[in-house]
């Protein structure tokens, strides 16, 4: 399967500067490994996380677990986090429950429809081989 988006070194990545080094591993932002789109269903936000390269997908599967995502969004969501795998699309789908202050028209949030939970997830730091 051919993939678009081979050039991973975007301006945003360069701005991050040198990744933190620890032994044979280094930490990078999820932004360097994946892209994402998010939306809503009622009070649930969904974040689709998509590997930028096939080689990155197993890293996402291993490290971006439902538990890790729940910790990442601590204080921003009230409910549980579910994860679904779509290996055919190199994607993970996360459901963030009770994330939108009631959702839809009830919500008082700027992001009442969960549109930018996507990039909020991409702030996560991930360990990759050096």
């Amino acid at each position: 399967m051919r993939r678009a988006g081979r050039r991973v070194k975007t301006a945003a990545v360069r701005r991050l500067g040198r990744p933190a080094v620890r032994g044979s591993r280094r930490k990078v932002r999820l932004l360097e490994l994946a892209h994402a789109r998010s939306g809503d269903k009622g009070d649930t936000a969904n974040v689709g996380l998509i590997a930028l390269k096939p080689a990155y997908y197993p890293i996402l599967v291993k490290q971006v677990t439902a538990a890790r995502v729940a910790r990442h969004f601590k204080g921003m969501i009230k409910g549980k986090v579910e994860r679904y795998e779509l290996p055919n699309l190199l994607a993970l789908n996360f459901l963030l429950h009770e994330a939108l202050d009631g959702g839809g028209t009830i919500s008082l949030k700027t992001d009442a429809q969960g549109k930018v939970f996507s990039t909020a997830l991409l702030r996560m730091e991930i360990e990759v081989p050096r």
Binding site: G5, G42, G48, L52, G75, Y84, L108
Partner: protein
């Protein structure tokens, strides 16, 4: 004889989408069908309100001038339209289109199909009495909790009644609450003769519908991957499905238009508003998104294949809207130095005053736009808030008590002169209390919903 390829172009991804899109879609290259999706979760209740004030309203009114602009092209190029612009009054919408067509002297040149049967509002008490509880899919509560506040109730219909209208010769099919995906699947059913148990094919058409139902969001709009390099967004081309009888299809757009159709962009749209990807449930089938295969088949051409589906469930989703209460959101802008600290101080003062007034709110939500409004504590951890040039204090309240919300709206402006310094940005005046119409998703037995297809001659 089956047609080898059917081209379904997206013209609107939501009520309020780009008005230029449908015109460009039908004039800048070949399409066989123009698909226009108007209905979001609470759109029906807005339309119901309009209809209760004037029985001739209750549909997307801007659909009429939009159609007027493209009608001569539709007739000349024999392009058919599927649109759920009918809202809670599809017949009135069809009449308005028919009158407009007569004004354009197109009488006898086309037929309008109307799909109804989705509206359950008048049947609601009878259904509840017969034991249909219409429990909220999220909370599990029975509809009887809010029955006296229900404003609209519509079952989601699928592609079949739309396909039936096409089979009866309709050129324009106007519907009420038909699924977004059904509007794209119906032309394929009609053109290829797909049967009701061809689950893989129906799932393929459903995936095609999901891909283009948000318009340009799959052709380069709102696309994060290398967003800076997406060409000519000002002239973005809306997506087109080129469908084949075997259930494979291409996503493409007209040559010479802006935007970009890539595997990455299509994938972003596929996961948009996704639940369990193995069970994408529609009235027509259950599509399995974990079977989708994508490949770049050329510039601005993405090939989709491999889609598998399973039988549709015996339930239909029902979209119910009910009156919930009132809300208001107000803002003030604080400037450097210590902009964030000033905004936080203003928030504390305001909250104390609301407390001292004894006002009761179900919720008070404060956000600091420029600091934490979108990414919350994740952003605050990294931002040097002391240096921010400005921060917008955005505070909202929600209450069943309109008077409490009304009073809140009067408490913002005084802060300009009697609160923390360096504040501006109140030119818009005080916020207005808004009625909250909330969404109540439920399921109902498919058997009790009877789709109806009518034809209107022009």
């Amino acid at each position: 004889m089956t047609t080898p390829v059917v081209r379904v172009g997206a013209g609107q991804g939501f009520w309020g989408d780009w008005l230029e899109a449908p015109y460009r879609q039908v004039t800048q290259g070949p399409v066989d069908y123009l698909m226009m999706d108007y209905l979001a979760e609470v759109t029906m209740s807005i339309m119901q309100k309009q209809k209760s004030r004037d029985p001739s309203l209750g549909y997307a009114k801007d659909f009429i001038p939009l159609m007027e602009r493209i009608f001569p092209t539709l007739v000349e190029r024999r392009i058919k339209v599927t649109a759920n612009a009918g809202g809670v009054n599809p017949r009135a919408c069809a009449q308005a289109v028919a009158e407009m067509a007569r004004r354009l002297r197109l009488s006898g040149r086309l037929k309008i199909g109307v799909v109804t049967g989705d509206d359950l509002l008048r049947r609601l008490d009878a259904l509840l009495a017969r034991g249909h509880e219409l429990r909220n899919l999220d909370t599990g509560r029975p509809l009887s909790d809010v029955r006296d506040r229900v404003l609209s109730a519509n079952a989601y219909l699928g592609a079949w009644p739309v396909a039936a209208a096409l089979r009866q010769g309709a050129d324009i099919v106007i519907t009420g609450r038909v699924t977004d995906t059904g509007l794209t699947l119906a032309p394929m059913i009609h053109a290829f003769g797909w049967t009701r148990d061809a689950w893989d094919l129906l799932a393929a058409g459903t995936v095609a519908g999901h891909t283009i139902e948000c318009g340009a969001q799959c052709s380069g709009g709102n696309c994060l991957v290398e967003w800076q390099t997406v060409p000519d967004l000002a002239n973005i081309g809306y997506p087109i499905v080129e469908a084949h009888p075997d259930g494979t299809f291409l996503i493409t757009k007209h040559p010479g238009t802006g935007g970009r159709i890539t595997v990455a962009g299509v994938t972003e749209q596929l996961v948009y508003e996704m639940g369990n990807p193995a069970e994408y449930i529609t009235p027509d089938c259950v599509a399995d998104f974990t079977t989708i295969r994508l490949s770049q088949a050329g510039k601005d051409r993405v090939q989709v294949s491999g889609v598998r589906g399973r039988p549709a469930t015996d339930k239909l989703k029902v979209s119910i809207a009910y009156f919930y209460g009132y809300k208001a959101v107000g803002t003030l802008v604080y400037a450097w130095p210590e902009a964030y600290e000033k905004a936080k101080a203003a928030d504390r003062v305001l909250r104390q005053r609301l407390r001292d007034l004894g006002l009761k709110f179900e919720s008070i939500l404060t956000e600091f736009v420029g600091a934490d409004a979108t990414h919350g504590p994740l952003a605050l951890q990294e931002t040097r808030v002391g240096d921010l040039p400005e921060v917008q204090l955005r505070i909202g309240v929600r209450s069943p008590d309109r008077a409490a919300v009304e009073r809140f709206t009067r408490e913002l402006a005084p802060l300009i002169l009697n609160g923390p310094p360096s504040v501006t940005g109140f030119a818009g005046g005080r916020p207005k209390p808004e009625e909250i119409v909330a969404y109540w998703p439920a399921l109902i037995d498919r058997k009790v919903v009877e789709p109806c297809v009518e034809l209107v001659d022009v």
